[in-house]
Amino acid sequence: MENTKKTYYPLENVLIKHFTEHAVEWEQSDPPEVTSQRKGAMDYFKEKGFPNLKMEKWRGTDLDAVYQEELTVFDEETPFDKKVDEIFECEVHGFHTRMISVLNGSFYSKEEAKLTVSPNGVIIGSLARAQKEYPEIFEKYYGKLPNHIEDGFKAINTAMARDGAFVYIPDGVELSGDTLQLIDILNKPNLAVNTRNLIVLGKNAKLSFLHCDDSVNHHAGLINTVSEIYLGENAELELYKLQNINDETALVNQVFIDQAANSHVKISMLTLNGGLIRNEVSDALNGEGASCDIRGLYLVDKEQHIDNHVSVLHNAPHCDSNQLFKGVLDNKATGVFNGFTYVKKDAQQTNAFQRNSNILLSDDARIDAMPHLEIYADDVKCGHGASVGQLDEEALFYLMQRGIPFADARMLLMYAFADDILKEVSIDALRITIEDMVKRRLRGELSICDRCVLHCSNPEQPIIFDIDLSKI
């Protein structure tokens, strides 16, 4: 390339070197289209490198410290010598999930469970295996969404990701009784991993999916994940993302969704802890009558940074979208919310709303809220807004006047603030678990669970919290 960037960050060098050393080998096993995507993406990366603060979409999120690290690129399968729960304990109470895991970027399971096919045609397992065993599905969807190479993270993921989770739900199949849980774990120090997930829902298919980003130890690292999600007509997806990673790890998480007519997506992005997290959700409503409800809650403190970028593209008429993100930032935590709603010229009868509300608990905490609307149709109902404030003094006094001490009153108000997001978690047991986590997080007990993000009440430390009595 002529226009190649002159100087690279250490991490960029490491990634480019790894690619150069392995490209030929990968080419042997990859379909030609994947090979050419990789090459194109690497050319982009060599030219542009990682995003920087000068880029509009990266304003406010500084990853310079990560770029300076010589992390180890890791894309090997870890041999299955321990059950997942020996690496990482997840106790989901009274709540049935089918669990799969990605360890250090690769699908982790016994050999015979790398890719399973159920009698109803559901295929779940490793993306690398699906590429080989189901080329017709893989090639139909993989890398087909636009904007894949719109910045350095997506480019490097496209160039280098070689595994992740693959979920295929055929037409008419509902996987609604069971929640599928994907646990993404990092348990080795100083890794840079690129993970790719592909989730396909056929017509009238239904999936409830819980995706947990966790780190087991206090090791530094970078996780760069791209998930591509396709929904056929009338399909329904509930996606819960739970993020509870250590303060040393940076997570860049990008979710692309393509929705056909009358499909519905509901997303809850719950960020409970993480040194540096960038979430990007880009949802294209491509068929009439599609809808999405994308909610997020982030609770950050210390010097943590959270960046949520959500874009919803109304490419077809009669679609509804809602974005609601709420955050509580304490100490020197910083955040970015960038909500973008685009309504195409012929996308009439659109309803699109977005809102971002924040509570700053300290003078040093900061949030940069940027809602954008771009509307080219005339028959639309759109609304957007952002607010940044402190806890409501009047409400605090009201609670205290009823005898509730300051610390509890404050926590109750924060919890109430979060409730708009939590109440939308429609799986009861999951909601209760998440509510417990939020309570513990607000009480300062849950900085990071050393084990599972959901492992939040244990016998030594039962949860006693006298506020939530909604069950009585």
Partner: protein, 251 residues
């Protein structure tokens, strides 16, 4: 003496609002305070309940003989001081049930008592709901959220009935109520009234005092109590308005 306020001066943002107020309330008594708008009635309630920003520059507030000026608002509440807010606050996301249970248990913890059992709590809530004639569904909703003006005021009385204060201050609880709601509010007060507690009823109108019979009526004007008397004073005010008060004190 339940409440003894001596030469109280209160400033907000450096501006003196209460300018030397004296008031004492014994257990078993109902006192009414009347006075024109902006005269400092709500400021007095805020000062007694310890609201931030209401600076006490001079004077003393004794509650059961002890100075409460250094007490936090929750401590005052747990010692038995209750305020029915002139403008009750909406708290989305906190259900009435959770709120009340948290408040009740905060008080019990303050008194070194174990938390109330859920069954006992619910029973008490049912009982008090009937007392103030509030809709059963109201307690499942978020605190005051979407409540009508009347519902908010009834809700204050409901909370008062639940918390059984020793000193209850009602700040214009009657404003904006129709006669039925007014009777409900008055009934709440009359049921709770005993030889062990006292009431300070701030009101604009004499009509509430037809239902809550005060032992004393005080007229407040420009940060001071300018006249005190029996319940007849309320009628006199109703007839004459407040204009006549202003003259002797002006300048």
């Amino acid at each position: 003496m339940l409440l003894n306020i001596k030469d109280l001066h209160v400033s907000i943002d450096g501006k003196e609002i209460i300018k030397g107020l004296n008031l004492s309330i014994n257990k078993g008594e109902i006192h009414a305070i009347m006075g024109p708008n902006g005269t400092g009635k709500s400021t007095l309630a805020a000062a007694i309940t310890g609201r931030e920003g209401y600076e006490i520059t001079k004077g003393e507030i004794l509650y059961n003989g002890k100075s409460i000026l250094d007490w936090t608002p929750d401590q005052r509440a747990n010692e038995g001081v209750f305020l029915s807010f002139q403008y009750p606050i909406e708290i989305p996301g906190v259900s009435m049930t959770n709120f009340m249970r948290t408040a009740m248990n905060a008080k019990r913890e303050y008194k070194n008592l174990p938390p109330m059992q859920a069954g006992e709590f619910l029973k008490k809530m049912e009982e008090k709901k009937k007392l103030v004639d509030i809709n059963a569904k109201m307690t499942n909703r978020s605190v005051n959220e979407g409540f009508s003006g009347g519902e908010k005021k009834k809700n204050e009385i409901f909370q008062m009935a639940m918390l059984e204060p020793e000193l209850a201050i009602l700040d214009e609880t009657d404003s904006g109520l129709d006669i039925d709601a007014l009777k409900v509010v008055a009934n709440g007060v009359n049921q709770l009234k005993s030889e062990d507690n006292g009431f300070l009823v701030i009101t604009h109108y004499q009509r509430l005092l037809d239902y809550i019979i005060p032992d004393f009526v005080h007229v407040m004007f420009e940060g001071r109590i300018v006249k005190s008397g029996g319940k007849g004073l309320a009628l006199e005010l109703e007839e004459k308005g407040y204009e006549w008060l202003k003259e002797p004190y002006a300048g």
